[in-house]
Structures are given as C-alpha cells and as structure tokens.
C-alpha cells in the first residue's frame, strides 16, 4: 500500500539570474512500513525533497499525497495539524526547544494538539530511548547523542505514520550513530511506521529497504 506519493514534484528557488532548480519532476511512491534512504551529493536537493514530503514548504509544481490526501491543498493551519498527527521530523541539528526539559520536548507534538499526553506511552517511550534518568534535564545538559534521542522521541510521541529524518546521525560519532539508528529502526518496526531518511552514511543506506539516489534535483 502506497502511503507517500509525489507527482511531478518540482521546486525552483529564486528568480531570473539566481534561479536554482532544486528539484525536477520527482515521482516517487513509498510503501507503508518501508524504510527509504535518500542519498546524493551535497546540494543535490535531498533536504528540499524531504521538506516537501513533510509539508514544510510549497512545491513550485506537482503534488505530494499522503494516504491519498494532497497535502498542499490543505490550509496552512490544517497542514500544521496534519503534520503533528501524522509526521515525525528528525533533524541533523536536533532542534530541541531549549526552555523545555526532555519530557516536555517529547510531549510537545501531543500538547500542541491540545491533547493530554498518554503518560504510560510516554514513559515507555522515554525508557525505550534510555532517557528515564534524564527526563527533567534541559537540552543543553545533554550530549549530542542524547539530544538526538530526545528528537526521535519527539518524532514518535504522536505515533505518526511517517518519520522524516534529515541526516539524523550527521553530527554523531560511529558508536552513537549505531545506537540512534537502532532506536529508529526498532521503533518503526514496533509501531509499523514508514521512514524516509537522508544520509551520507553508506552503511545506513545499505540497511534500508530501498535507496533513492538524487543528483542535481533528479532521481538517478
């Protein structure tokens, strides 16, 4: 079953002289439960694609459908609500909220949805991430690997069907990279989630169900 689908997706940045064709006519299908790795040289348009898949930016042309819904037909607010319920993001820079502690950061998408977080589930999640001892700590009191685990926790908190990760291990050493990847992989197995992940790491790419290679905004 196809959960994520793009049709003739294009993105152009800038105008005239400064025009950059970041994505050209991308057509991909991602199956539910699939782990798709995106690889490609720097500046090839990987992040641009991921952002469009997650509804963070507007495509110049083409559509993105999730579960058959054309997400760019949704209003700004509906799209935001859609994101917090169905998509979990993990970024290379972790992007945690500095004033919130570990638990609060993780609960954030649920709280934004004006729901009371399911305490048991969050407890499980924090334990699963190995952060039980650290749940009252602020992000700046954590190591990079710990921070990325918090970010993963945040991406999982609302039990989204899709995880979009942009070089989640880009800032981590080999050992931590393995830990973080194991977490992500066991999570998607546990919750039957779809994962789209950008990486420069050959090993990670090899462990994916499918590898998508992008060069100059085009699928190779």
């Amino acid at each position: 079953m196809v959960i994520l689908k793009t049709i003739n997706l294009s993105k152009v940045y800038g105008k005239g002289e400064n025009k950059v064709h970041a994505l050209k006519d991308i057509n991909i299908n991602v199956e539910k439960g699939e782990f798709l790795a995106i690889v490609g040289p720097s500046g090839s348009g990987k992040s641009t694609l991921l952002h469009l898949l997650g509804g963070l930016d507007k495509p110049t042309e083409g559509t993105v459908e999730i579960d058959g819904v054309d997400i760019y037909k949704l209003s700004e607010d509906k799209l935001a609500i859609y994101r917090r319920r169905n998509i979990g993001f993990v970024f290379q820079q972790y992007n945690l909220i500095p004033v919130l502690n570990v638990r609060e950061n993780i609960e954030m998408p649920v709280r934004l949805d004006k729901k009371i977080p399911d305490k048991e589930y969050i407890d499980d999640l924090i334990e699963f991430l190995g952060l039980t001892e650290r749940q009252r700590h602020l992000p700046n009191q954590l190591s990079g690997g710990q921070q990325q685990r918090v970010a993963i926790g945040r991406a999982l908190a609302a039990k989204p069907s899709i995880i979009l990760a942009d070089e989640p291990t880009g800032n981590l050493d080999t050992k931590t990279t393995d830990e973080v990847m194991n977490l992500i992989k066991s999570s998607i197995k546990k919750y039957n989630q779809t994962l789209v992940l950008i990486t420069h790491n050959e090993n990670i790419a090899q462990s994916a169900d499918r590898i998508l290679s992008i060069v100059d905004g085009e699928i190779q």
């Binding site: 607010d77 992007n95 909220i97 500095p98 934004l112 009252r136 700590h137 602020l138």
Partner: protein, 855 residues
C-alpha cells in the same frame, strides 16, 4: 583607529531601529531635563519680577514696635536693609472702609512696592497719599487737592497694659496717588495711606500712642522664614506683630532653587533612569549582534581595548547626536511648555514669561545626557572586551538554566495552555533583560497610580483643605475683608431677609463676632503660648486677643459635635449669675512646630473668665469688662472642621442676642448660606447682586474652593501625565526593540515548532502571550510601588492632620484597584503593540528558511 570608528558607525547604521531608539532615549531625557529647567528658570524669573512689583522687595514686617526696637532690628546681623514708618492707626471712612495710616517714608513706600502715579509725597502737616484702589472703593475721583474726612482709630495699650481705642475725626488733603499692578488687587491685600509726620510736631495722634512698623530685607536668601522668625524671637516680638511677605519668599525660594524644584527633580530622575535602562538594554542587545565580528576581530589580533573602543565610540556618537537633538527639542518644549505648565510655587500667572536659556541649564543638560550614556554603556563596554563572557551570556540566553517545576507552573499550564506555558518559560530566558524592560515600563506607574488615586478626588479635597472643611455644610460664607472696620460695616437683618428669599436658598445662618481680650494672670498662661506671643512675665495681668462671637441656634446645634466637655445648651441657661460661654482654648503654632497647643492652663467647665469686648457708644468704641462662665469647651478638631479662626485666637462663643445687646452691635459679621442642590450658581449670582454696593463684602464659596483645588490638581495631572507618557514612550522603545531581538534570535526555534506541528496561530498567540506576561509583570511592580505610594500618602495625611489639627474621621487608605487596573491595561496594550509587528512577521515565517538559520 579609523577602522574602529568605521566599524562602529557601520553597526549603528545596520541596526538602524536600535540606533534611533538610543538617540531618542538620550534626546528625550535631555529634552525633559533641559526643557523643564528652562521653563522653571524662565517662570521663576518672571514670577519674581511680578512679585516685586506687586508685593515689594521687603521680606518681613514687624509691627507695634517702639523706637529703640526699630534701631535694634535695623542693626541686626542678618538685616541688610530696612525701612521704618510710624503707625498712626487706621483711617476709617463713613462706609466702613479702613486702611492703615503710616508716616511717609520714601524707602518704606518703595520697598512696599508702591509707585506714585500722580502728585507728590506729603511734605506738610495734613497732607496724604492714598492708593488708587482705596479711592475707587471709597467712591471718590482721583482729584488732587481734595480734602477727605476720616475717623482715626488707633488701638493701643495704656500704662496698665490694657488695650484701649483712640478715635477722633480728622481730615487730610490728597496730594498724591499710589498704585500697584492690577493683579495685586485681585488677591488678598490691605490698603495703606501715608501722611506727613514728624516726631514732636505731629497733630495726628497723641505722641504716646504712636508705634512703629519696620520692614526688612535680609542679607542672605537662604532659609528666609526661619531667619525672620529668629529675629522675631530675638527681640521677643509677638506672633501677632509679625508677618512675612509670603509671596515674595516663595518666589525667592523658587528663584534660588538650584535648577528645578523638588517637584520636577523627581521627574527628571525617573526619566533619566528609564533612559538608562533603555540604553543599557540596547547596547547589550547590540553586543549579541556583534559577537561574531568581535570574536573574529579578537582572532585576527585586536586588543580588548580596541574592541571596547567600538562600543565606546558608538556611545559617544549617540551622546553627541542625542544631546544636540535633545537641546533643540528642549528649546521647542520650553516654548510650548511655558504656556501649558506652571512649575512655580505661587499662583502668579507666568504663562507669558519669555524663554530664558542660561548656560548653567545647557551645561546641566549636557551633564545629565553624558551621565545617562556613561552609566548605561559602561557595563556593555567592559563586557565587549571579554568575548568569552559574552558567549557565556549568549548561552544562558538560549536555555532556561535549571529547571524547576513549581506549583505555579502547573497553574499557568492549566489556565493558558501550551502556548501560555511556553510564553512564560520564554519570558525568563534572559532574566536581566526581562527585569530591565519590566522595570522600565513599571516606572511611570508610580506617578500614574498615585495621581489617579489621589489627585482631584472630591472626598480627599474636601477632607484635606481647611478652607473647605471650615465651610461645614455651608455653600457660601459672606463676610467683610480686612480693609473694613467691623463697627461700621456688617450685614443687616434686611440683608439676611433678602438672601433667605432667594430661590434655592435652604438655610441662612448669622454670626456676630468681634475681636476682644482675655484677662489672665500671667501664670495661668501656657509657657509656649507666652513665648509665641512675646509676653514677658513683668506684668501680672495680661491681655491676649480673642474672638468673641455669637451664632444663631441652628448653627449652634450643628456645632454640638465639637463639644469636648460641658454642654452647648448651657448657652441658653439664664439662671446662672454670669452668661455661659463655649470656649476654644487652643492656638495653632504656624511658625515653629505646626501643632495645636493650649492657651490657658487648667481651664475647666465652670471656671469664670474675664473678657473685654468692644462696645459702641455713639460713634466711639471702648472696651468693657465682662465676666463669663465657661459652659463648655470645644474639641481640638474645631480648628479643622468648625467655624474657627484657624488657630489664630482663642475663641469665646456667647449667646448671640446677649452679645448683641451688650456690645451694641446690630449687624452681623458673617452670613452662612446653604443652597439646594444644583442651585449654587444661581444663588451665588443673586447674592453677588446684593453685595454689589458693599465695597469690601466678600463671599467664600465652597464650590470655588473646590474649583481652585481642582485647578491645582489639573495642573499637576497635566505635567505628571506628560512625564508618564514620556517615560512610557522611552520604555516602549525599549520593549519594542528588546522583544524584536528576542524573537529574531529564536527564528530557528520557531521554525522547528512549526515543523513539528505548531500552527501559525498558536505561534502568534504564544508571542502575544509573552508580551502580555511582560505587561503583567510590569503591572505587578507598578501596583506594588504605586500602592505603597498611595499608602504613604494616606499615612502622612492621617498623621499630619490628626497631630496638627486633632482631626478625626479622616479618609483611610484603600488599595488603589482601579488606578492599577487602568495602568495595567495601558502597559499591556503597550507590550502587545510592541510585539505585534514582530509577531506578524513570525507568523508568516517560511519554515524551511527558518530551519536553515542556525545562528
């Protein structure tokens, strides 16, 4: 060096909004300090010039002196100039006008501020000069050479120390006319005439009745009232024989005040502090922007000193521009402010003063501007030399420090949801920056809350003003001014009838009163009282001045509540051997300790006292002895709420009919009128008609007293609100720029929040809630300081009035809820407006672009 100046200017240019805020902050502070000083100096110059013309140049007057004493005062160590004139009694006309008659002394006339507008000063027996105003009141034309008939009345003490009245007919030839500015005659004044007088050769008064008056000017203008009172005490001159030229002293005090009076000084401080908070904050924020560049410069070899030079040069630049702008704005402010505000102490109209700019004031403003900039930039300059510490600072800016989960967190979570909770946490990201803007916005609350709570509150006005409380329930009190002779003026029964018949008049009361004397054994008098009145122990029997009076029954009923001991009804008791009297046995020391004190020691109900009251026989008046029994004593509070002499004399109330019979008086000194609600103005106009042909008839009106107070209050409100808006303007710039920066450095975070599913609406609501929290915090601080100030005001009021006047039932402190709510509303609106533009921008944020901004 050049490269640093270049860099400094480049940053100022790049951060244009902040630079404008900085310059405006300095300029507004300079403008206010400079402008208010210029206005004050110009107005006080103008005031003094006017006062000299109206009230003369003398500072104090001593009366009832003998020749020796005039010499002593003249040679006193503190006196620089004095003039002496003989007091030849009062000139009394047929229609009851009374004016002081002095001997001609050129210095005396000059120092008193008179100008001779016609004729010459008397140089022969029987010649006289009079004030133009006196002739007008007497209904005479200003015709020189005219002979005018008067009675001469002189109060004197005979060889036994008893007060007596000398009264004879006497005519004078008018040889000159004196005048003073019109404004002078609109206020309180006493008329004088000057005649030719040479000791030993005079035929005005018997020589032994002549006393002297001396007016003096002191060597130093410092502590004038105190110094004058010391002279009075030095020569044992009684309170009743001494007066200061109070208007002149107030004007001189204003004039010699360093730059401004305490009143405006307080504002200047408030504004300078607000400006300092603004500038400090702006420089600190600049540092955040410049941190990378500074780090880079240090890396390529700039010294700490060189880095500090950049900020140093920026502050110098801002100071210079701010000063120039501030001085120019200050001049503009002076021109319009001089008409709008009155910073001087007297009621003289100074709105037409010409703007006077002294170097002293320019220099003062420069100092204030420089101080403001130096104080506020010294810390940022120092920090800029230590980049590592800046980095630490920035770090702390990005995190919340230690996490505490207090009870109120949960509370905030509950009432304001996730966005409110986030907002609350964000507010405390940079504690100092938050505290600074919160305090700067709260600053004006101190004035605002106090003013709204206290100024022009009707209940307070009528409780605080002794002129108003002394009106009791009356709307009008009709009396005669100082320039009349009570035995030849007064309100007749016909007047009373005419007034009673005016539509809208509810009640009319009458009062007969006269100045008399109390006979006492010198040992029965309170010691302080004796000292105060210059009474020595040489004579065993002394006479002290009292007011003897009688009221109609209705008014007496109203005065019952002021009875301390005995009964008001004793006045109606005819079975006693002596008539009963109600006595007020206190005087108010207005010169030294400002307190009510007793006059006769151990005076009790049932005591018999001897008084002397003036009795009219034919066209002569003599004092006659009368024993009365103390039937009741009045409470201290009488001075404050009763129909009192305000503590000038002991008061003896006798049955009205009895008093009129024994004194031979058939008219009333005072009529009190209560009008029906809403009829005041009509009644006022009608009474005025009746008073038209009584030259010195005066009408006090409760309404106009309240009006006067309110005008004063409005004047204060006007200048206070100017300050409040200036402070809020400066503080608003601070909030605006700070919030803008706070939001700017969090762009990446906002993008993240949007990415994980925060809607644009939620984001905006979080930012607006943040600014509301700033407003609420400011309101809390303002409420605390404003509330405290109001509390202190009430405390002082209660202490002063209960100690000073024995007043009870004074208004009590109530927490100023409404003023605080008003101020909170203003402050919250300012905070919301300050963040609104930035919030709008954040709302439109492109998520991907925001995510790409990492630093």
């Amino acid at each position: 060096m050049n490269v640093y100046i270049h860099l400094a200017l480049a940053y100022l240019k790049k951060q244009r909004g902040r630079t404008i805020a900085l310059v405006l902050g300095v300029a507004l502070a300079v403008m206010l300090v400079f402008g208010s000083n210029v206005i004050f100096e110009s107005q006080s110059r103008n005031q003094l010039a006017n006062i000299y013309k109206m009230y003369g140049t003398y500072q104090g007057i001593f009366t009832n002196l003998n020749k020796d004493l005039t010499e002593k005062i003249k040679n006193d160590k503190d006196v620089s100039k004095s003039a002496v004139a003989a007091n030849l009694g009062n000139l009394v006309t047929d229609n009851g006008i009374s004016m002081i008659l002095n001997s001609t002394d050129k210095d005396y006339i000059e120092m008193s501020g008179y100008t001779l507008i016609k004729g010459h000063l008397p140089n022969k027996q029987g010649e006289i000069v009079l004030e133009s105003q006196a002739l007008k009141k007497m209904g005479l034309k200003e015709k020189l050479g005219e002979t005018i008939n008067f009675k001469i009345k002189k109060e004197y003490k005979d060889e036994n120390g008893l007060n007596q009245i000398y009264m004879e007919n006497k005519s004078f030839k008018l040889v000159g006319i004196l005048d003073k500015p019109k404004q002078y005659y609109e206020g309180y004044y006493s008329l004088r005439g000057f005649t030719y007088f040479k000791e030993g050769e005079n035929n005005v008064l018997p020589d032994n009745l002549i006393t002297y008056e001396e007016i003096v000017k002191l060597k130093s203008n410092a502590n004038l009232s105190g110094k004058l009172n010391q002279i009075r005490e030095r020569y044992n001159i009684g309170r009743q024989d001494y007066e200061v030229n109070s208007q002149l002293i107030a004007a001189l005090n204003d004039f010699s005040a360093q730059s401004t009076n305490a009143f405006t000084y307080q504002f200047n401080i408030l504004i300078v502090i607000t400006a300092i908070l603004l500038i400090y904050n702006m420089f600190n924020i600049s540092l955040i922007d410049m941190i990378k560049q500074i780090g880079m410069m240090r890396a390529i070899g700039s010294s700490k000193k060189q880095v500090r030079l950049i900020i140093g040069f920026q502050s110098l630049f801002i100071l210079i521009i701010g000063l120039v702008l501030g001085l120019l704005m200050g001049i503009a402010f002076s021109y319009f402010g001089i008409k709008l505000y009155s910073f001087v102490s007297t009621n003289i109209d100074v709105s037409e003063s010409s703007v006077y700019i002294s170097m002293k004031n320019v220099w003062n403003a420069v100092k204030v501007g420089a101080l403001t900039v130096i104080v506020s930039s010294i810390i940022p300059i120092w920090i800029s030399g230590r980049i590592s510490s800046i980095e630490a600072m920035r770090k702390s800016d990005r995190s919340g420090g230690k996490q505490r989960n207090r009870g109120y967190h949960k509370f905030i979570k509950k009432i304001s949801g996730i966005t409110g909770e986030m907002a609350y946490k964000n507010v405390w990201r940079n504690k100092w920056r938050t505290i600074i803007i919160v305090v700067s916005v709260a600053m004006a609350g101190y004035l605002f809350i106090n003013d709204i709570a206290v100024v022009n509150k009707e209940s307070l006005i009528s409780a605080m003003s002794i002129t108003i409380t002394n009106m009791q329930d009356n709307d009008f009190k009709l009396s005669f001014g100082t320039n009349t002779e009570p035995y030849f003026t007064g309100y007749t029964n016909d007047d009373v009838k005419a007034i009673s018949q005016i539509e809208g008049v509810k009640k009319v009361g009458t009062k007969v009163s006269m100045i008399g004397f109390l006979e006492s054994d010198v040992n029965d008098l309170d010691n302080d009282f004796k000292k105060y009145n210059g009474i020595s122990n040489t004579n065993k029997n002394v006479e002290t001045t009292i007011e003897v009076k009688g009221y109609d029954d209705d008014q007496l009923q109203g005065f019952k509540k002021y009875i301390d001991k005995g009964y008001m009804s004793s006045l109606n008791n005819s079975s006693d051997k002596y008539p009963n009297a109600v006595v007020y046995n206190y005087y108010y020391d207005i010169l030294n300790n400002h307190k009510l004190e007793g006059i006769r020691k151990d005076l009790n109900v049932g005591d018999i006292i001897t008084i002397r009251i003036p009795v009219a026989k034919g066209d002569k008046i003599t004092y006659e002895e009368q024993n009365v029994r103390v039937g009741a004593l009045l409470k201290q509070e009488w001075i404050f709420r009763g129909d009192s002499t305000r503590g000038r004399y002991m008061e003896v109330i006798l049955p009205q009919k009895y008093l009129m019979t024994i004194s031979g008086k058939s008219t009333y000194e005072q009529i009190s009128v209560q009008s029906k609600p809403g009829k005041d103005t009509y009644v006022y106009n009608r009474i005025n008609k009746i008073l038209e042909n009584k030259p010195f008839a005066e009408m006090e009106s409760k309404l106009s007293y309240i009006e006067t107070y309110k005008n004063f209050g409005t004047r204060k409100l006007k200048s206070d609100f100017l300050i409040v808006s200036l402070i809020l303007l400066i503080a608003g710039m601070n909030v605006y720029n700070t919030l803008k920066t706070n939001l700017l450095i969090r762009t990446n975070e906002f993008a993240t929040l949007r990415a994980i599913g925060m809607t644009a609406k939620q984001l905006k609501s979080m930012i607006i809630k943040e600014s509301i929290i700033y407003g609420l915090l400011s309101s809390i601080i303002a409420a605390l300081i404003g509330g405290y100030r109001v509390y202190r005001f009430y405390k002082m009021l209660n202490e002063d009035y209960s100690h000073g006047f024995g007043a009870t039932h004074l208004p009590q402190f109530k927490f100023p809820v409404i003023p605080i709510l008003l101020y909170s509303a203003i402050v919250i609106v300012i905070c919301i407006l300050s963040s609104y533009v930035s919030a709008k921008k954040v709302e439109k944020l492109n998520i991907v672009e925001g995510l790409n901004i990492t630093e």
